[in-house]
Symmetry: D2
Subunit: 343 residues, 4 copies
């Protein structure tokens, strides 16, 4: 299966390349980058041994190279520009940007400050939260890969919302992320000296992953949900830890929670139910796992859920490959069954 | 004024020494350490130019050295052992441990798993949250210096609780800390390779700072308060960021909050009201400041408060010196008026 | 092929386990640890999904489990205790410790302050610098895996010494290492707060890797060589950068050096000749590559060589697997052909 | 004494401001920045409590503000533009850039690729290595503050060169630096994710601090000296460790070295002679100290010297204040007598 990556020179793109190069069924045939056109991939990324050259995106190049699957790891409003013509040509697209995640175009416009993708394609897009939309992913030409924070959050929340364990009006999410999430562009705020020995809250008054979390949390809860969400940057390269607080509606115990999570995820490959062994990002670093911990606090009547992923893996490129596997009938774990790089 | 430090070889102790050596009114006369007795201070800490030698704690040495003020930066149950005889001899004590913070001995016992200090001295102890107990601190022989998390949390919460801005049953605290809070003892879990590139939740099922926060939050709210509290270790040496979520009881706006915090703290020296310029730990690193940010979120009806301190400064040694200044009628800012070490 | 790891709970051991679990031809059958006996591997290392239990080392357990290959990732004087009986039983041993690296027992004694291994086995041991002792490794029952610093240093030096490009009396080595090299034992000096924001020289007056470097440098130069060697700890988990200075004996140019290194290593799999694209440890992190850069400085008549490896991979576990592949006639790159985890 | 800082928004500039604001004799009256004109200092640097506003540099503003002393912390070729008119107006200038360090204009041109400052002013400039040019600094209108690497290197080398302890043709310098030395401009290579978990050699083929080291090393050795110099970036914000190797010409012992360094620096305030207690950057972080360690290696006949400074302090702003103190007859240590921020 011949594949291409658009936005290949950013951190999400280069992680896709790492995974594709190791994958038994995918062959990387083209890499597109608007910032590095004409450069050899291996001169920009000396750790990769590839003779590909970054090019400016063009549909013609894709067609000539006989590519069946295109990954987009691009900023807002890039994939929505290219997807229609690719879909019409029969390509399959997995989009790691936010362009096709929100079903309501007005919601997209108000959170991303950009025009939304055409409704026709929004309607075709399937949300690539692999564990929960497997059947839809398997047959869709357009898979909208989830955001990093929504992935960690929704894997933790959906079982509780489906079973009505928590009060849907009580959900608060405190999220911490390594800085690769901010991308590889030159940016004073992301200089080592500014990030090191620092914790930095940002977008406290509104992060664009909020409507994505709310849309899918509402879907599974079958009621409209609004969440509080505070993201914070911590001095590390990779990793997200999401801490979720919610009201326990019926004194569910730690054992109840364990049973629920265990039965929900026992037949999946990348969600590890940890219970009271609190997840740490180090134990998922570089891997596609999501580790879930939880605690039912009798003192306060609240449930606390902890969810750890690698933002570039299960939060981006890893889940994209997982979705590609599902889409093309390859074993879901193909090319992804390796543990964290520890320490 | 001659002073001594007990527990002088830990991170809290060595920060006290840094501050005392720079202080215009205090003279360091003795340093006690159970782990380093007999060693020169400057051989253990080459950055300090002192000819003092660590000794095993003894009341006789304190008396001979004519010491008026003793700081304890010791593990649980050490200061409660020594304080009675020191108080009887007319010394003033500032205790950075938790031994005198909880007024109810049973609460201490259940959270610290140690016997509580004698009730007589618990009753004499004044809580050294400098901005809120200034008058009591000025006349007390025994000042119980607040914990690092409670300092950051209570400075943020008290104005809201006093003015009944938030629902007292709705308080959730997500706390992130650098690792100096864990002390300087050899500990596999605190090795660089275990902490670096990691976020680690700990004591999710109960941290001993919870009853301290609840005791003083309840006092100012005039109602019993229980809080949810999740602490997390992040890969940095110094700094705490506390993120607090609470229900807004009456649609208070960002301007209302700004006015409240500003009027509350305008005559204090170390609390900086930042509003929507979100606090970052880097901007308080090495200094005694507490930076407060906040956001009234109309979407969810919640208020989010962010509070940043240096855990070794305003969260420990800095506030202890501030309390010593207050106690001895020295200007409150004496020896503490320097900015963060940035970057 | 059934294999076992002794010293499996340290950083070198756990990296071996990561590699063996991914390896197409090796099956991990037993893990031995003197510090964690009785614990489940996955409870100590939650990122690994194994049902093995750490046991105290015993030759009987090895025999029963039908193990053919034993890796030792142990402190000094452990492998020399066990190796004789294992060799006599016909097992193959790859020893990652220093016990069999020095051919002269007195040299071992004076640098390691321990008794040397029995001469009979010292004589049987082959030095596992894969690129230079391939034929010997392929047939030896006892492979002495090189130290991390010697690996990075010798891969850089041997071509220059063989071809007499540099003055053998002029070699100086400035080495920088991440802290996993110091192991996983609790150790105050390796606490995050002591290592972070710090560069720390150590063993400036003599590191035990000096005689190892000298023994093999002398062998290839066919003259006795003494080197200056200064190791330094830098605040990162993985990675070694070795900077070597040596006198250029005959005005060899950068092109000469490129040709030499290129022709030397073009048929190897893990040495990448970078020339004036200076190696960085990030580009080998988590991988088995060694990146070599160099510069012939006409101003001073010296050659500077830069060599970067991951100390746990090419500097320990990765090279051990490479040697195991060579030893058992498996393709040398088997289980090792993945790029660095970047960033 | 009224002072101004030009280039005030970079890391060197903001460190100068930190020191001036704490200084008992200097008053900061103006801050100039070409990148932040019109911005409040405290909005760019929230940790500083100043009501000054960054302005575009102008000689008129300096004159109106009645400023006597101007610090330049600017990129190459900025101070050489302004200094002539300032000197003519009788201002005193302390220049932290390289513009006045090299006495030979051709040398400047070839290493900085810019035109050199006018010879007249080059001749007036005094090199501000405080411990070695005290008398000249005390009377000069133009003090050229040393580079960070040259400061650490020359304080280590000068005693050995003066006393002819080392072979002047044998000097090799391996330098490691935190990343604040690269400045605060947005720069992809200095992003946290690129620097973290990495050691990066740079300018291996020629760093502009080489001619500065050679000029002053030659001066004190009274013979022309060429050095090898390899700088490397390590993942920390502040700190330089320089490791120097040189041939021991006459079997000088560790005791000889200790005596030499001790007698050389015993009457200075900021050079601490550590001997075989190897210097670490953490013990000088945030302070103006230079810690020197050394080892006479009998095996190789070489002397190894280790020199640690904070690049923003003794390597830039701290030494600039020290020079200002000397220049204006204030005690040399004024405003600088505080220890490292540890840990």
């Amino acid at each position: 299966m011949k594949v291409a990556v658009v936005g290949a020179s950013g951190y999400g793109g280069v992680e896709l390349i790492r995974l594709i190069e190791q994958h038994p069924s995918f062959e990387l045939r083209a890499v597109f980058s608007s910032s590095q056109p004409g450069h050899l991939l291996r001169s920009v990324y000396p750790h990769l041994d590839s003779s590909l050259v970054f090019k400016e995106m063009s549909v013609e190049d894709l067609s000539e190279a006989d590519i069946e699957l295109v990954f987009f790891a691009t900023p807002p409003s890039v994939s929505s520009h290219w997807v229609p013509s690719l879909i019409e040509q029969g390509k399959c697209v997995i989009d790691l940007s936010g362009d096709f995640r929100l079903s309501n175009p007005n919601t997209y416009k108000s959170w991303y400050q950009k025009p939304a993708a055409p409704t026709k394609y929004l309607n075709q897009a399937v949300y690539g939260l692999s564990e929960w939309f497997q059947q839809e992913i398997a047959i869709s030409p357009l898979i909208s890969n989830p955001g990093c924070y929504p992935t960690a959050t929704l894997l933790a929340l959906i079982p509780l919302l489906q079973e009505k364990i928590i009060d849907p009006s009580s959900i608060l999410i405190d999220a911490k992320s390594g800085v690769t999430g901010a991308g590889r562009s030159a940016n004073q705020a992301m200089l080592f000296s500014e990030v090191n020995e620092n914790i930095r809250p940002y977008k406290v008054d509104g992060h664009q992953h909020i409507p994505e979390i709310e849309q899918f949390a509402s879907l599974f809860a079958q009621t409209e949900i609004k969440v509080s969400f505070v993201p914070q940057l911590v001095p590390m390269s990779r990793g997200i830890l999401v801490t979720i607080f919610a009201g326990n509606v019926n004194n569910y115990t730690n054992e109840d929670l364990y049973d629920l999570y265990h039965s929900t995820y026992e037949n999946t490959s990348f969600v590890r139910v940890r219970g009271r062994q609190w997840p740490e990002t180090k134990f998922v670093q570089g891997s596609n796992y999501c580790d879930l911990g939880f605690y039912s606090d009798k003192r306060t009547g609240r449930i606390i859920i902890l969810s750890a992923i690698d933002n570039l893996m299960k939060g981006a490129a890893g889940q994209a490959i997982q979705n590609a596997n599902i889409r093309f009938g390859i074993p879901e774990t193909s090319g992804l069954l390796f543990p964290a790089l520890y320490p």
